[in-house]
Symmetry: D2
Subunit: 384 residues, 4 copies
């Protein structure tokens, strides 16, 4: 922890789920050090639901590309880099990659030739990234208290890794979590245990929900005694305003990435967040912007557009069937999945604010913000 570090965020376009051209070019230009990449979050153009193969195709392409560029073994890359693919670019959302790097800060704080890597002055909190993983879960622990509690521990570990002491300095927690399969359920049954749900699809929601509640515990957003197994995916009043969780079949542990601000870092970026009360809550975006020194309006959409490095938000249809008293039809549409409508809506609301469609809006928001709302985080370049 003695050498100061710096975090970089690169927002790169993708012309297809397996298009890594922009990544290769950024490496070629020396803007990205492929060995420093710690995570890639991707917005891909599948349906974001069960049969979305754009996510798998993207992960494959990115893994192979980074392995080749970094001259590392494929397995090593798979182990050391977090790949979180969110399917669904409904409305005007634009497929893109968010590539996160962690580097050691240059020893001498000389005047930077390239603003993106310019070190911050000492003592100013800047973007900090910390990662941690939980132990592997047993199938019967998924979607229940053990998953929540160990996620909370891992969030604290990731904060320590990032040099963040105060939970108020945490603005976004990405969690990748496991799901139940037929085989995993059978394994639990074989040991005489039941599972949170026998529906493998629903198990994704339970895992996301318990993980988000773990984040809420870690950040003090809910009290430990407020939580028990029966509240997971049922008590919508319990949530984290900073968690974004997604479930995948390829792991049995929770992988956590914490984004916050820390004076121990010398990044050229800062991060902030707000909690949207409903899908139209642009005031929450204003809160997020204010905390990174920006504000809504024409300037943000114009010259200020360059200062925004990444926008991350969750979207879900309100279960009440209404938004501010007006009926929505998302939950009754048997042609388009409700989560697709919700991403389109929140994507549109945010696109109007930012004048930008490269927005990481993802679905599956169990216990991630209030019903129909969700967290929104903004990573911005620091003011010059």
């Amino acid at each position: 922890m003695n050498t100061p570090r710096l975090a970089l965020v690169h927002r790169l376009p993708a012309s297809a789920p397996d298009d890594v051209t922009a990544l290769v070019q950024a490496v070629d230009r020396g803007e990205i050090d492929p060995r420093a990449i710690v995570a890639v979050l991707g917005k891909t153009e599948g349906n974001g639901c069960v049969n979305d193969f754009s996510r798998g195709l993207a992960t494959q392409a990115l893994k192979h590309a980074i392995a080749r560029l970094a001259r590392r073994d494929l397995d090593e890359v798979a182990r050391d880099v977090a790949f979180v693919m969110s399917g669904g670019t409904e409305g005007g959302l634009s497929p893109h990659w968010l590539v996160f790097e962690v580097r050691n800060a240059p020893a001498a704080p000389a005047a930077p030739a390239e603003p993106e890597t310019g070190p911050a002055a000492e003592g100013v909190p800047t973007l900090a990234i910390g990662v941690a993983i939980t132990p592997a879960f047993l199938p019967e622990e998924i979607g229940r208290m053990p998953q929540a509690l160990r996620t909370a521990d891992a969030v604290h570990a990731a904060m320590r890794a990032a040099g963040i002491a105060d939970v108020r300095d945490v603005h976004y927690v990405q969690v990748k979590c496991p799901l139940l399969t037929r085989a995993r359920i059978a394994q639990a049954h074989g040991r005489g245990r039941d599972v949170a749900t026998e529906d493998t699809y629903l198990s994704m929601g339970y895992s996301r929900g318990a993980s988000a509640l773990g984040v809420a515990l870690a950040l003090g957003e809910i009290a430990a005694d407020a939580l028990d197994d029966a509240r997971v995916c049922r008590d919508a009043g319990l949530y984290s305003g900073r968690a974004s969780t997604s479930a995948g079949i390829e792991l049995m542990e929770n992988q956590i990435m914490v984004l916050g601000n820390s004076a121990a870092w010398r990044s050229d970026y800062i991060v902030g967040h707000g909690v949207m009360r409903d899908a139209l809550d642009v005031d929450a975006v204003d809160t997020a912007l204010a905390s990174v020194g920006l504000r809504m309006g024409g300037e943000l959409r114009g010259s200020g557009r360059e200062r925004v490095a990444a926008v991350l938000a969750k979207a879900e249809p309100s279960q009440t069937g209404a938004i501010r008293g007006r009926r929505h039809t998302m939950l009754d549409d048997s042609d388009i999945h409700a989560s697709r409508h919700a991403r389109a809506l929140v994507g549109g609301v945010l696109a109007g604010v930012f004048g930008e469609t490269q927005l990481f809006v993802s679905g599956g928001a169990e216990h991630q913000g209030p019903d129909g709302g969700g967290p929104v985080a903004v990573i911005a370049r620091r003011a010059p």
Copy 2:
């Protein structure tokens, strides 16, 4: 024309395409005079494409309801009231009816018991509505110059009917236009004539396009000599910033409704518009708001929300495949029609601005605004 008139706009929720409860209640409460209704614009929850049966169901239900409430014959209602149903409530858009009434202003300008019908002071321009129809077209005229030119004439006739002399006082022109069917094409062929397109689906676009160009001609937005048959649905540089056109199988003429402001009226409403350059162009919304004495921001979404009576906009995917340089995927999605994505996007952008999802956002925007953009009109209650 001697008796001053007043126009009323009622925005009513619909819980289903055939739900006319709110209309019946408004009549029961004396807020709507069913015999004064001149038009109903409806946002219904079908897919807004070929097989959208929510529009037909809504039209049937509304016609029967108005005939019953007004104690008029069904055919009479069909003849005298314009029904324009726009399918597609993607994202968070909320199904609703916009009911337009034209009444004679009360003789004595006594203090109004009911604010909605309160007369404006003399000489102040307020919402004016005028309707007109073209002669019936021959099949070979649809999507071509005859349709455009006669639409232009009818727009002028509707302006006269509304007492609007200056084209700058026109802010929204709704056109309902015919389409080609197999039988109509055969009829033209039988007389040795060809038609604009032999594809009946495409004929809807040609009819909408030629109609919009007719509006543009009438309003001086394009020069008459700039137009010929070959430019319809091809030269995207020609458009009206105030036209909204929709094609239906049940008519062979164009039905025109002009919304503008006129000092000859005593309405409690005014109308304004802007032209969105692309789907994210909230500055155009600001222009529309400014012209009706409102402005974007927290107040509009809060207490000012009540002053907005109706928002009408067109949405289409940009044919470039990009928005402000970012790729969109609307045109490549074989699961969701591009026009559905576009409505979701523009609906989201506007919902963020207005804090409201009862927005009349419709698709099919040939020559109605620039590529990827479109007109946006706002009808507001006048400031007290």
Copy 3:
């Protein structure tokens, strides 16, 4: 019951959900007596799921048409004629109406000028139709034993009305049943009762399931003591091979129509059925055909095609995720609802057998046939 009756079936094309042209023409030609119509089953072209407005539009159009043609009051028609609309014409299925008439047989068995109405010889079992309704259910009874038991009673009543004594002579039982709404659930709660499910969409399945189990009870397909509330929608081993049930919001009772053969009738039609063990089970179709004097093969698809008056079948994806050991993808497709895939599949299988796409294939097959299979009934013109 003394005057012999005859039943007629008319299969009529529909060019749109509200196209009643073929019905009007058949009445004009004297082929249909509009006052004798007892039921219309319609295959309409919506998605067959929640937001299918083609069903409502069709019902409206048919009701108005029959009232006009029969010079009867709209309410009377709504009361006396069963309208059962099944949405979804996936694959090649063709939208059509099945119009059922019940008439008194002509007194003198003179040589019929028109084969469709020719009376059968005395004593030969021919198509018989019987209808009955249950008392209205309380919300808490829907999807539970009371609904099943009273449906069983009503099936027996409909058999008596049809003059069918032996359950083996019943080949198809159409049931229209209620569903739960928010208001109905609240009403039950207000009386301290719980309901089968608080999910209004799921309530449709429970109501269909309990109704089908009622048919199975009535026909002796399952034993009364095999049944309890907990088995509804859970024990797939219990089913009727002759029930077809559909849920609608507009009623609180079950409406039953029994189709069978009875020597008391003088119809020119007979009905038979088979039970498809899975979606590919054409041998079950052969069984159905055999019982009406037909067999699969080139003749059926060719000259024999005219003898088939109606084909009615149920379709559902197998919950195992496989058909004859091969994986299907219906349950994992988030773009197309599983029931739509299932109708397309069964529709294709049957279309290959019959050389015909006017097939009444409907979804929602809870307890109507085994998992992944379902009943198939054939109504045929009797051999000359």
Copy 4:
């Protein structure tokens, strides 16, 4: 050509687009020689339209697996093995791989321990496979006569490679062909040339169509002078009853694989075909079956099911909007692409005949069979 060869076909299940488990196991069991694989045809579970990423994911997974299993370089595998992925498993179609091998026949015709590789007696025509490629096309040649003519030449070359002299012994010709991209069109324009279509999506159809017409020319199904540029994708009366063509972005030449029967081979399989006149034409399937010594009926669906090694068919909605005089709704459904309906329908028809859902039914049938119909080929194990 002196050493007799034998062709093998393996039909393997896939539990996901990137599931190569069955392939790996077949290699491990010694049933497949990975170095002898010449082609893999895959039915994958995407939408089969523009944004179908299951095809790319499958190709990636198969290429990597075969390279690993055969210990060959990835580029070599890409060059030597044809990968043809057809997306879309609508209705009950089951995702699977058809792996084609070409081996030298064992020297001594000893009694085979394993029936699948048992050599046929000398002089008996058995399954023969030949491949060939055209020279690379210029963009302006795609969808036009040069593509057709050179495809015809390449079909003849592939026939020679397969030792097939008589065109009547050819039963299925798979063609992979290029498409136009923005860049390719610009390149043609740069040289002052126009292209068949400037719509990149439509260019796929033109390329498939011209390629199919090339096959028709080669097989004498149409006369050379019947063909010119203007007939491609316009004159539906011209077609091949044995072509199956698919367009891909990764090549500029046409890759041809001919399947036929030749006495120079010692395969344990034979191939036959029929031409479906419409989507319900099971008589054409009977023709195909008869030519490989099988017939429709209960035996085929039962014990005979094992004798069928592969079924390959094309499916498209009839452009007339009807099947045997009955309206279909495929072309009017804006929620489900018409080609998806068509695959579901033909898949269902064939599944009923074969009692099997591992059927290679693909869409995009320009000039591949008559309007609404298409070729169907059956590869069968020879009778013992």
